[in-house]
């Protein structure tokens, strides 16, 4: 940033960080227990209420990058840009909630999705989910630390590394002792800071920058595509790849699964619906700053589009509101970082120690807690080291995203269809990855018949994505019709053209291949799985009663006796 950028003094920024992290630490001490229960450390007793769950789901789904990326999308693609970032991301929260209800009905006391996959299939499927989440969460942790370091170095005299260390220490401080319980409780404060800031900052910047008049004076900076609500550029380059990517993210990511296992079972739907609206409005709202920057003809400082949001804040806000903006970004990145720490600790506790080292029955809850806390410290150290080195990890992120995309159909099918086998699951994921990589990275020339073949597979992928979205709400029959119609509708436009959009094409190929292979290898299975086994194979590791937190009778009933889907009578996908 240049010299015109607003700068806090050293004392001011220290005071703001102390206020934020001191406050969240104080909140976490209010729920701290001398003897923490290992299961509560991972899922908060599976009994979290609507207010905290909705706040936590919203806060976790929003990270600093999502605000910057939405504004970038608005700046690049114009008025429809933020919609093609925020709306699809929001709708994915909505689309996965029926699957969430099913997962909770089948495995009401689980801690991680990988743990459930082991109960359903065995070790290889568990390791795929757990491994991808370890890599994904470390990358996410690193990205959030980097965002914090950049923000602090931009708006204060502190260096990038000092900023990274401040954020990492602050997040670890309040998350370490109480784990997921601290994460969800502090999420409420963080979401209040984020939503409150957006509700105030966007209108203030809007009027301070000379809008609505600037819509007329700035029209010369905007192309016809950028001025359209129905920009094909925005859909093909931003919206469509994002739809495919976030469905995978929502299904595969442990930070979401962890909240799914934590919320009281009868509150899953209102929680997910509220988080859908909250995430969408917040991220699209911040994205509007990119649209305003476009109309104003602002050039991102240093050519870096991620500077747009801080640049707008610095240019048009008074110091006190820049402090609010600072807290908003710190809140966004901290809420996601503490969720990543909780996710990593749960995977280490339940999937690595609990099931693969000690064994479900022999696992010592005290050792589990030690493993969880040590994992948080180690993960923070690794993320700080990677952030300091500023490694280019984009390819790794793409690979994790592809792995989650390849996992979507096998994971969902495993909860509904009793014929899916471990071999089908594993082979489908590996086959999908094998085809994804050359398409995504254009390792083979996409010309002639090969390009047409890839387009045909991607068209099947379109049907799979829309079919899966429909399946959760309307069942198999509607899903088949929607999937078929979607493929037929997409075919005339996609065949011969879709391979030119490598990101979108590769994601769709991963969906298609994993679906076809998983179905083909499972359909002939004559030994159907008994879903009731999952409930028996997953559950509490720590039998000691939680300190001063008796489970209300109604909540206990809602967990065990009011399942809206009886796993033993679940419909077959055939």
């Amino acid at each position: 940033m240049d010299d015109s950028t607003f700068q806090f003094g050293t004392l001011s920024v220290v005071a703001l960080l102390l206020l934020f992290y001191g406050g969240t630490f104080y909140i976490s001490t209010r729920i701290g227990k001398r003897e923490e229960n290992a299961d509560d450390y991972m899922t908060a007793g599976n009994n979290v209420g609507f207010g905290i769950s909705a706040a936590s789901m919203t806060a976790t789904w929003i990270w600093a990058s999502s605000m910057y990326a939405s504004a970038t999308s608005g700046y690049t693609y114009g008025i429809s840009g933020p919609i093609h970032y925020g709306l699809w991301g929001a709708l994915m929260i909505l689309f996965i909630y029926p699957f969430g209800k099913r997962i909770r009905a089948v495995a009401p006391r689980a801690h991680t999705l990988a743990e459930v996959m082991r109960a359903r299939h065995g070790r290889s499927s568990q390791l795929m989910l757990a491994g991808s989440n370890v890599v994904g969460s470390v990358i996410s942790l690193m990205s959030n630390f980097i965002a914090g370091g950049v923000l602090i170095s931009m708006l204060s005299p502190f260096t990038f590394i000092q900023g990274v260390l401040m954020v990492a220490s602050g997040v670890l401080l309040y998350t370490l002792w109480s784990g997921f319980r601290a994460s969800v409780l502090t999420d409420f404060v963080q979401v209040v800071a984020m939503l409150g800031a957006v509700a105030v900052l966007v209108p203030v910047i809007f009027f301070a920058a000379g809008f609505p008049a600037a819509f007329e004076t700035g029209a010369i900076h905007v192309t016809a595509q950028q001025e359209s609500f129905f920009s094909s550029d925005a859909f093909m380059n931003q919206g469509a790849p994002y739809i495919a990517a976030v469905l995978a993210y929502a299904i595969g990511n442990q930070t979401i699964a962890q909240r799914l296992f934590a919320v009281r079972e009868d509150l899953i739907r209102p929680t997910f619906i509220t988080a859908t609206v909250g995430y969408g409005a917040m991220v699209i709202g911040v994205g509007m700053l990119g649209v305003l920057a476009l109309y104003l003809g602002i050039t991102p400082e240093g050519g870096e589009v991620n500077n747009l949001v801080p640049q707008m804040a610095s240019e048009y806000l008074p110091p006190v509101l820049i402090a609010v903006f600072f807290i908003m970004i710190i809140g966004a990145l901290s809420s996601t970082a503490d969720s990543d720490l909780s996710a990593l600790s749960s995977i280490a506790m339940a999937d690595i120690y609990g099931q693969n080292v000690a064994g479900k029955d022999a696992a010592n809850p005290k050792v589990m807690l030690l493993v969880g806390r040590a994992t948080m410290v180690l993960a923070s150290a690794v993320a700080v080291a990677f952030a300091s080195l500023q490694l280019n990890i984009l390819d790794l992120l793409v690979f994790v995203g592809a792995l989650w995309g390849a996992l979507v159909f096998p994971v969902i099918a495993s909860f509904y269809w009793n014929k899916v086998t471990n071999r089908a699951f594993t082979t489908a994921v590996i086959a999908a990855l094998a085809l994804f990589l050359p398409v995504r990275f254009e390792l083979i020339p996409m010309t002639g018949l090969l390009a047409i073949a890839i387009d045909l597979i991607a068209v099947v992928g379109v049907g799979v994505v829309l079919g899966l979205m429909s399946f959760g709400f309307f069942g198999l029959r509607v899903a088949r019709v929607v999937g078929l119609l979607a493929s037929l509708a997409a075919a005339p436009f996609a065949i011969g053209a879709l391979h030119e959009y490598a990101t979108l094409s590769a994601s769709l190929v991963a969906y298609a291949v994993s679906t076809v292979v998983c179905w083909a290898m499972s359909v002939g299975n004559s030994e159907p799985f008994d879903f009731a086994l999952i409930r028996r194979r997953t559950g509490d590791f720590d039998e000691t009663p939680a300190e001063a937190t008796p489970t209300p009778v109604g909540a206990a009933l809602s967990r065990d006796d009011r399942d809206d889907l009886d796993p033993t009578t679940a419909g077959s996908l055939r």
Binding site: V48, G49, G51, T58, L195, P212
Partner: protein, 43 residues
């Protein structure tokens, strides 16, 4: 695109955000009061 439509389009999101904030906050403080009455932790 008319200026009025664009203005509404930009400013509707902060309004929606404020509405969600209200819903979440009301639920949170309700749960907090309820937990205190029962003598339990909130989470």
């Amino acid at each position: 695109m008319s200026t009025t439509v664009l203005t509404i389009y930009v400013l509707m999101w902060p309004v929606l955000v404020a509405a969600v904030l209200f819903v979440i906050s009301r639920a949170f403080f309700g749960e907090w009061r309820s937990a205190r009455r029962r003598g339990e932790d909130l989470v």
